[in-house]
Symmetry: C2
Subunit: 331 residues, 2 copies
DNA sequence: CTGTTAGCGCATTCAT
DNA sequence: ATGAATGCGCTAACAG
């Protein structure tokens, strides 16, 4: 082991010298081995071993215009809805040699813009955003940057570039239709105060056909907020029969609070969530919900970016992944 | 708005020309405004606006040796234990102008090494790892890279560089002591199969003073696995009085399963978790657990890295954040 | 197959 | 307070 000092990491130059070849040959042996003789590759690889060389991807990216990084932007990592997406994104990108740079907007338009700017400054080969970018300025900037962009977890006719998601309005309508079919009259809503939850609520109310008592809770939602939300709703109308919740966390909280108050679920109070969180099938009662394939959103987004980077044309830049209702014990 | 073509993003060169100053003056006006006259700064900023200039951080980093990126490595994003850490890390780093690059090891030593290598290649100004790096090769490589490294969520006398965490062995002992104090005799363990959960189990068993029936579940743990684990444990010993779980998710599942089987919690079966997950205080019964300040781990790790980058000397590179037991209804 | 030349976009010397 | 030159580490283009 011909270790190099800790303060001067080996460069490709050192590798080339150790292998007795030119700089560019060493570069090719590592990055494009098809064009180099087997013997040379061996020598170079031995040199890499002995020098402990690790390629400087910053330098490579500067020249080649491929940084092998993809930016991922979420409101907050704790929004468990998005976790499977970020996880799948990271995994799928890693498989293609890309790495994810994370940005959090904290549901704040200003922060979103500043996050986007530093993102763009890192010359990522793609950007994946949970939700649609609202600010027109930011949309223009992204479009002009020429970086492939995938907006996710929503749908739009005119995305910045590409979009993978589903219609929140339709989700709301579908749940509304389900509630109508059950014949429930006294209906309440527990909803996060973010854009997408509000959209689902709109779709739900439109289908039900009237304004409904609503408890808004600050995003991200949680079991605790669900408990509080039910308290609020029952204060508005103690005889509610059914609650539509904007997440399974919220629904879980509503269930726990209902049981704690001696209500039977679903006989006295029916409860529906959203997101098909992993625990929902295993609570007692299990939680009826709307399934959305968050991991698939991440995988698809990754693939769109990678394909685009390979110069392929994207047949369909607007992907509707849909959703499906899952009926369990809570309704 | 003097927009530039989407295919040729403005460089600092363009800004300098538009402002009628030299390249370096423009550079200083943006990066080191104290040394430049107010009038020049204004001209440069106007030029930035009109050209839509966004600094290329790759190029800046290449020259300045400060990439303003920090690598973060987790087994999997879905391990909710680590979420507050990653979230706080991202937020705290962003405040100091750094961004996080995410790597997932999937609890796999080989993947860990390859993730570390590409990480190092990106010249991050620091690396934060959840857990201690096990492979000696990887430890050497990290140490030799000269990059500040913070290992977290564990403790060691000889970290690669710095470490912020707590002793899992002591956590196990503390919970064991608590169980002994309660006088429970027939005790079972539901544990994740990862390194740290096993350490806590070791500490627990040592304090209890004997081998205990254990149900191992694959990490990451979940409510579902908790239900299954209780089934397994009761099959081994139907008269168990108390269960020690390696996470609150697992504990929640054990509680749900116990209630579903008609057992009263804690009268028939006492249950203790670990991690103080957000829902644990609001379930019925609420979950006794061990609190660890995951967010603080992230904040501290960020600060250590940032301080080190500023050239400050770290007074104490080994930080024990400790833990505390929280007694709730489930015991 | 291999090597030479010329930058990528910026910040750190030095100079003025 | 400003500017000119130089090179960070690497790869794309062209040569041989």
């Amino acid at each position: 082991m011909n270790a190099v000092s800790p303060f001067k990491p080996a460069t490709l130059h050192d590798v080339a010298r150790a292998a007795g070849v030119s700089l560019i040959t060493a570069s090719r042996a590592l990055g494009n081995p098809g064009v180099v003789s087997a013997k040379t590759i061996e020598k170079v690889q031995a040199a890499v071993e002995s020098t402990g060389y690790i390629p400087n991807l910053l330098a490579g990216g500067l020249k080649s215009k491929r940084s092998l990084m993809v930016g991922g932007i979420v409101p907050a990592l704790s929004v468990s809805q998005f976790l499977p997406t970020v996880q799948a994104l990271t995994t799928e990108l890693a498989a293609a040699g890309y790495q994810l740079i994370l940005g959090q907007t904290a549901y704040d338009a200003e922060r979103e813009e500043s996050v986007l700017n530093t993102m763009i400054g890192r010359q990522p080969d793609g950007i994946v955003i949970t939700g649609l970018v609202q600010a027109q300025r930011a949309r223009d900037r992204l479009r002009r940057s020429g970086i492939p962009v995938v907006e996710t977890w929503d749908l739009s006719d005119r995305p910045i570039d590409m979009v993978v998601g589903f219609s929140h309005l339709k989700v709301g309508s579908a749940v509304g239709g389900y509630f109508l079919g059950k014949g429930w009259q006294r209906i309440g809503i527990a909803s996060g105060d973010d854009h997408r939850a509000r959209m689902r609520r709109d779709g739900f109310q439109t289908t039900i056909g009237r304004e409904l008592p609503t408890a808004f809770v600050p995003a991200p939602s949680s079991l605790e907020l669900g408990r509080r939300a039910l308290g609020e709703l029952l204060a508005k109308d103690p005889r509610l029969e059914a609650i539509c919740c904007s997440s399974d966390q919220l629904a879980h909280g509503v269930i726990v609070e209902a049981l704690a108050r001696g209500l039977r679920v679903p006989q006295d109070l029916a409860i529906c969530g959203f997101g098909n969180a992993d625990f929902g099938a295993y609570t007692v009662p299990s939680i009826s919900t709307v399934h959305v394939d968050g991991a698939e959103i991440g995988r698809l987004a990754a693939r769109l970016i990678v394909d685009r980077c390979r110069g392929e044309t994207i047949a369909n830049p607007i992907v509707d992944l849909g959703f499906r209702m899952i009926e369990r014990q809570s309704t």
